[in-house]
């Protein structure tokens, strides 16, 4: 079908081009001019024909009807274009607007995705909140969704309070930030102020390897290496530590975020104007004083923005916590305990076969809604901070 229609298309394009060539000669002889080239007419013929072909192919016609309508439509198109040519239709402008419109449509996909995300999550969450009260979800201190395995089971047996889950998320995120921020910022400072550019060219890509490592690999590494090491260290001091401790998950997550913080801080440091640095040095400050008292303060809004983005990145991180953190929601601030996170809960709730009507499945969407709102707010906050407090 496709081949036949392409053959039709080729034949008619050829006919059109020879016909237009002939007519153009006559037109020029009689003193008329066309602002568009013949090629433009042929291009618009081809584009419209392809559109028609697509419509016909995806229509519910029988095969014979399809061939017939293909031939007929392409032929009409052919006649129309040659008629338009005589009328002095500006094919170039026409093509131009088609081009612009199609590019606009592709760009609009960005909005469509955003709306689709918002709509899908919000609708599923609304269905969840029909079963579980909003108040209970936001302020409830117990999270135990696994009870409601089937929709027939009463919802009251299970608990859907997101506080312990969110606390766990925050705990692991704070550990990650506590590791990645100081190390990332110091590494960025060291790379931009203390190292020769050749060494920098070697070191920076090395650290950026860390950014390219898939998170599932980090998760596996946390499980097989970091957790046992921490267990070993803490049991040496005879301190109890859970096998799936928040500390191990947060530590690995922090390392995952280091390159992210590093590159954002690097940009922030580079954007500090050189005369500020030079004047600080000229006044006799040491390099570290120049960095701490001038550069860091000048770059503070951008670094704060970087920190906020790192925070929202850590909250949304999934695979590390799904593998290395626990699944039981505990209301605990002890980093040595096993806690769970929103993303880990989403994964455990939605893995496997799902029924879309059980509160257990829908709870995942409610958690996702909370995540979405938090990360969205943080991204906007980062933008606002950078814009509002910019000093130069």
């Amino acid at each position: 079908m496709l081949i036949v229609s392409l053959i039709f298309l080729a034949i008619f394009s050829f006919l059109l081009s020879s016909r237009l060539n002939k007519e153009r000669v006559e037109l020029t002889r009689s003193g008329y001019k066309r602002s568009s080239l013949n090629a433009h007419y042929i291009y618009s013929f081809i584009i419209w024909s392809i559109l028609l072909i697509m419509i016909v192919i995806f229509s519910s016609f029988s095969n014979f009807e399809k061939y017939l309508s293909l031939f007929f439509l392409i032929f009409t198109n052919f006649l129309l274009i040659s008629y338009f040519f005589k009328q002095g239709f500006n094919a170039k402008a026409h093509l131009e607007s088609i081009f612009g419109a199609s590019l606009f449509l592709t760009a609009a996909i960005g909005i469509i995705i955003t709306f689709a995300i918002t709509l899908s999550i919000v609708f599923e969450s609304i269905r969840f909140f029909e079963m579980v009260h909003v108040k209970e979800f936001i302020f409830g201190l117990k999270w135990n969704p696994q009870m409601a395995m089937h929709s027939e089971q009463s919802v009251s047996e299970s608990a859907f309070g997101m506080v312990p889950v969110m606390m766990g998320t925050l705990l692991i995120t704070f550990i990650a930030i506590a590791i990645s921020l100081p190390i990332g910022i110091m590494a960025a400072i060291y790379l931009s102020f203390y190292v020769k550019s050749k060494t920098r060219d070697v070191l920076k890509p090395l650290i950026e390897i860390l950014a390219g490592v898939p998170t599932v690999v980090y998760g596996y590494f946390a499980v097989i290496a970091i957790s046992p090491i921490f267990k070993e260290i803490f049991s040496y001091f005879s301190i109890d530590i859970a096998a799936e401790s928040a500390l191990a998950a947060g530590f690995v997550m922090g390392i995952m975020i280091i390159p992210f913080v590093l590159s954002l801080t690097d940009d922030a440091l580079n954007s500090v104007p050189g005369h500020l640095k030079d004047s600080a040095l000229a006044l006799g400050s040491t390099k570290s004083e120049m960095i701490r008292k001038v550069v860091l303060i000048a770059a503070a809004p951008n670094i704060a923005g970087a920190a906020i983005l790192a925070f929202s990145r850590a909250i949304g991180e999934t695979m590390i916590v799904a593998m290395a953190a626990g699944l039981v929601a505990k209301l605990s601030f002890n980093p040595l305990d096993s806690v769970t996170t929103a993303t880990a809960q989403i994964v455990s709730l939605l893995i496997g076969d799902q029924e879309f009507n059980s509160p257990k499945t829908l709870a995942a969407f409610a958690l996702a809604l909370v995540l979405f709102i938090i990360t969205f707010a943080f991204n906007i906050l980062a933008l606002v901070v950078v814009r509002k407090y910019k000093r130069y």
């Binding site: 760009a107 996909i109 995300i117 899908s120 599923e124 790379l191 650290i207 999934t318």
Partner: protein, 423 residues
């Protein structure tokens, strides 16, 4: 006074040195972690590229084939070919194991000897028999995998799941050279399996490949076209601002939320098949679209205005400027961005778990609609299983994945170095 200044200065220099040390510490922490990380993975995974095989002498002679046929009745009346077609390879393997250990009289030892050989030995022998029909009427030496327990014992010297006499049998065989270590081709050519000794990554590699094709089909044209729209065509308007903001925001949304989107839109709403590579590719396309858009926009911005102005002065329209000038000039940058986007998509796991890519899939997918699995998901699945045999496979699969990612990134760097233009 001078003393005071000197004291103060000393203090300041000390602080300076401390600051520098903190920087060195940070850098070395990162590098150290990288080394430990890669070292652990290589250390745990390198042995999975080798597998221990045991030599079995399989008897394909007529007498043995008649003895080991599945057909019980009228065996005398059937022709030899008919019997050979219905050969029980399980029995054949057992027979050759019995013969191999005929020196041991204890039936218990023979029983445990069955467990030295992998459960799929009969399948391997059947395959090599089908590939080499000339084996018939002869005795053939065929190397088959040992079972996972034995493999783990030989590689890591962990013998907790083996009895003492089994260990001595195995050591004996190794001494005689009847158990040898081979390069594990099966790891790259076979699919996932419940038996760790034969589980391989071919199905997940193929799934990853299909997923990447779908990903590119959707993400590449859309990403590039919208980048050109935003850079060149969009005028300042509310709608275009909205597009700009939403694309920047998409880049910061957690990846798992895209998984939920794929779940509701593609699986629930459009009813596409669960865990197929088309759904996976389309989900990843949404996720990585902003990466391609941002990379392309940066490339377009780096093209000097003079080129655009010159084209415009000669009467070129917007479309002609983009198609004839900006697009060809930005191809290297777009390629680099796309390769980086592919390497990002290749390692993404969380959204794929949401669209059901966690099922055990033993066959490699034949088309875009069949259930498939991808490499990172395979890693996730294997990392969950408690057997030691799978632990080394996990690390080996990670090594393969990292090799791909590093190769992609190197390629992107080379491409950038080679085609980068200094305007």
């Amino acid at each position: 006074m001078q003393n005071l200044i000197k004291k103060n200065l000393d203090k300041r220099y000390k602080k300076e040195a401390l600051f520098k040390k903190m920087g060195i510490f940070s850098i070395s922490f990162c590098i150290l972690f990288l080394v430990i990380f890669l070292g652990t993975i290589v250390f745990k995974g390198h042995k999975a590229f080798f597998v221990n095989k045991i030599a079995l002498e399989v008897d394909f002679r007529e007498e043995s084939i008649r003895e080991n046929s599945n057909k019980k009745e009228n065996i005398g009346n059937l022709s030899f070919e008919e019997i050979a077609n219905d050969l029980s390879f399980v029995k054949l393997v057992r027979k050759s194991i019995r013969e191999k250990f005929s020196e041991y009289k204890d039936p218990q030892i023979i029983n445990s000897a069955y467990k030295i050989v992998s459960d799929i030995a009969d399948y391997r022998i059947q395959k090599s028999f089908e590939e080499n029909p000339q084996f018939i009427n002869s005795k053939q030496l065929i190397w088959v995998e040992v079972s996972s327990k034995v493999d783990v014992y030989l590689k890591y010297n962990i013998s907790t799941s083996l009895k003492n006499e089994e260990v001595s049998i195995i050591n004996n065989l190794v001494k005689k050279g009847e158990i040898k270590s081979f390069f594990n081709y099966g790891f790259f050519t076979s699919s996932d399996s419940r038996e760790p000794e034969i589980a391989g990554i071919s199905a997940s590699l193929k799934g990853s490949f299909y997923t990447m094709i779908i990903f590119l089909i959707f993400a590449f044209p859309i990403g590039v076209a919208s980048a050109f729209y935003l850079e060149e065509i969009a005028k300042k308007s509310k709608l275009n601002d909205l597009i700009e903001v939403s694309i920047n925001n998409l880049a910061a949304i957690p990846s798992i939320i895209y998984g939920l989107l794929g779940l509701t839109v593609y699986l629930q709403f459009m009813n596409l098949p669960r865990s197929s590579s088309i759904v996976a590719g389309m989900t990843l396309a949404m996720l990585v679209l902003p990466v391609i858009i941002i990379a392309t926009r940066n490339t377009i911005r780096s093209i000097p205005h003079s080129i655009k102005d010159a084209a415009m002065a000669l009467g070129a329209s917007k479309m002609q400027i983009i198609i004839h000038h900006l697009f060809p000039l930005s191809i290297p940058g777009i390629m680099t961005g796309t390769i980086l986007a592919v390497s990002r998509a290749l390692g993404e796991t969380a959204p794929l778990l949401m669209i059901g890519m966690v099922a055990f899939i033993a066959d490699s997918p034949q088309n875009f609609y069949e259930p498939s699995t991808v490499l990172p998901v395979q890693i996730f699945l294997w990392s969950d299983s408690p057997e030691i045999g799978f632990a080394e496979k996990t690390s080996a699969a990670i090594l393969v994945l990292l090799t791909f990612l590093i190769a992609f990134n190197l390629f992107a760097i080379i491409l950038r170095k080679k085609f980068e233009r200094k305007w």
